[in-house]
Symmetry: C2
Subunit: 349 residues, 2 copies
């Protein structure tokens, strides 16, 4: 059993919202309860123990990548998207982050509350079809369940994806010297949702970034041979959690240049009003890409050539000191980037 | 758009419990709403249009089988099992019904309500590990979400499975003359749950049959070469729904000999008290297997040689007349077997 450092054991506890928020509390719930006895590393491949974006199973001379996500976002319809677009994009992106940019197939399992309006389900379903079209993906099978009135808040959707990768890109492949590329601005998805919940829709720029990134990632992978060492999409827990996970798993330190992190002025302003740190806020259409220094320019150019990557930037680099730590260089000083414990933003995805 | 015959359109409706019950109402929701625009048959393979137990995607000289299910069973702990055993068994069985009896990997996506007891999650997780062990399956990746208090009734689990099949066994492969084998007694799972809900636990025999069937199915497939023409597990909607789906998709009629259908006396008695038809009740450890007549004896023997198939029986045969109809021969007369519209048993799986 792996214990996440610096946290108390789970015994006798009840589940809190923080256990679903993508940070340390969730990783503890997974390692100590949900994945207990299942964390033996796969002999050949990437399994549950890696706690990556998905699994990679050897299949002939390639890898079968499998990834699953349940989507419980509230509200279901939000500025810039809805639960259907989120479900398809999230799963396509998790496949892409492992190196599988052409999904073999997606599954869609819908659980809906008795009394839910059919017209809303139809709208969600159209979004799923559109997002599949954008991503070149197909829903190959599904499941439908209904829970009674009051037993479920509306609708939740699980999507699972399978794809083939010639080479798997893990979270854990970073080496000292690698550059960190972020494909666009941070915080858009989470801030758009929180602004809507708080009636704060001041600005037309406060829209979710939810989008399938597989075409962008395919370009980046094609641009360089083996120069991409790690990829992760900074969803729950935001950029802060994604960088921490990558640094911990790769046993490197990281220096992030805060002024280099793309951020929309509207997001910055709304985050200030809401008292949130945009680096801890979920994104649904961004990727963190670790690259060898000599490949950084080519990968950056490939990202920027794609409409979803126009604002891509090199935001930092990996160092051999301080393994597992992420140092934020603010331009006027340095501090440790803090990862959220958790419960800031329930039901963000 | 395919319309299920004899049903009104969905427009303006709200979702009812019947839409999740595995019968005609659910198939209508799927064809008219959830899978709208997605029902073009796959050119090569089995996709959403087949509405089979899962999908089959061509991969080299084999098939990648993918299947997904969300589990919302209530109560979570029931006589003979719990939601964890149900989730793993259900997914392993859906893979097996398509011909993939050795899972490459399973996913586990848990959604839990704030305030849920960690000790109950641990118990569910141990069940999942045990069922995986029985089935020779591995959970390779997962997802964890938390919903607020009152937003979800406890816990729901989605499991998705992937496996390889050398030959896919569809629902739709039956031909006139084929025999129908049922691997054991009907109604055990649903009646055990309903008895528990109604405080009717009169009999120690009222326990769910929930179990992974892949080893039994592997034996049956090995026993004959191409003699198995169709397989389906009679879960939601029970034997009646499974037989109807197989008959409709295969364009054959069926004659089922009611006295030949294995049924436990305790299940028969409880069903009478509850006013339920055991043929419409969910099973979670049974398979319906269609076989060429010359292969029936070998498949029956193979099933009976496995502990989960000791009561296997030939319960009927396919005919060229009355395509899509299932005729029940009661021993004293014949009548059409009626498929449940739906809402008898919410949250049975």
């Amino acid at each position: 059993m792996t214990t996440v450092p610096g946290t108390a054991p789970m015994q006798g506890e009840r589940i809190g919202l923080k256990h679903g928020a993508g940070g340390r509390a969730m990783r503890r719930l997974i390692t100590e309860t949900l994945a207990r006895g299942l964390l033996t590393p796969m002999q050949n491949g990437i399994g549950l123990a890696a706690m990556d974006d998905g699994a990679a199973i050897p299949l002939g001379d390639a890898w079968l990548v499998v990834t699953t996500d349940s989507h419980v976002v509230h509200p279901v319809f939000f500025p810039g998207g809805d639960i259907g677009r989120l479900a398809i994009s999230g799963t396509v992106n998790d496949l892409a982050m492992m190196g599988a940019t052409e999904p073999l197939g997606l599954t869609s399992a819908v659980i809906v509350e008795e009394g839910y309006r059919t017209v809303d389900l139809e709208r969600i379903q159209r979004s799923m079809v559109e997002a599949c079209h954008e991503a070149g993906a197909t829903i190959v099978t599904g499941d439908t369940k209904v829970m009674g009135r009051g037993e479920l808040d509306g609708v939740v959707i699980n999507t699972t994806g399978v794809g083939l990768a010639q080479r798997v890109v893990p979270d854990a492949g970073l080496r000292a010297g690698d550059r960190i590329i972020l494909t666009g601005s941070v915080g858009d998805h989470g801030i758009a949702l929180m602004a809507r919940r708080h009636g704060l829709e001041l600005d037309a720029d406060l829209v979710s970034d939810v989008a399938p990134l597989n075409a962008l990632v395919r370009r980046a992978l094609f641009a360089v041979d083996l120069g991409i060492t790690a990829m992760k999409d900074p969803t729950r827990g935001g950029l802060a959690s994604a960088l921490h996970e990558m640094a911990e798993k790769s046993s490197v330190g990281m220096v992030i240049h805060e002024p280099a992190v793309p951020m929309k002025p509207a997001v910055r302003a709304a985050a200030e009003v809401l008292g949130l740190d945009p680096l801890q806020i979920a994104n649904e259409g961004k990727a963190v890409i670790g690259v060898r220094p000599e490949a950084a320019a080519a990968v950056l150019a490939a990202c920027r050539a794609h409409p979803l990557g126009r604002e891509a930037a090199v935001i930092g680099e990996c160092i051999s000191e301080h393994p597992g730590r992420v140092i934020l260089d603010t331009g006027i000083g340095r501090r440790l980037l803090v990862e959220a414990e958790g419960e800031l933003l329930p039901r963000i995805c």
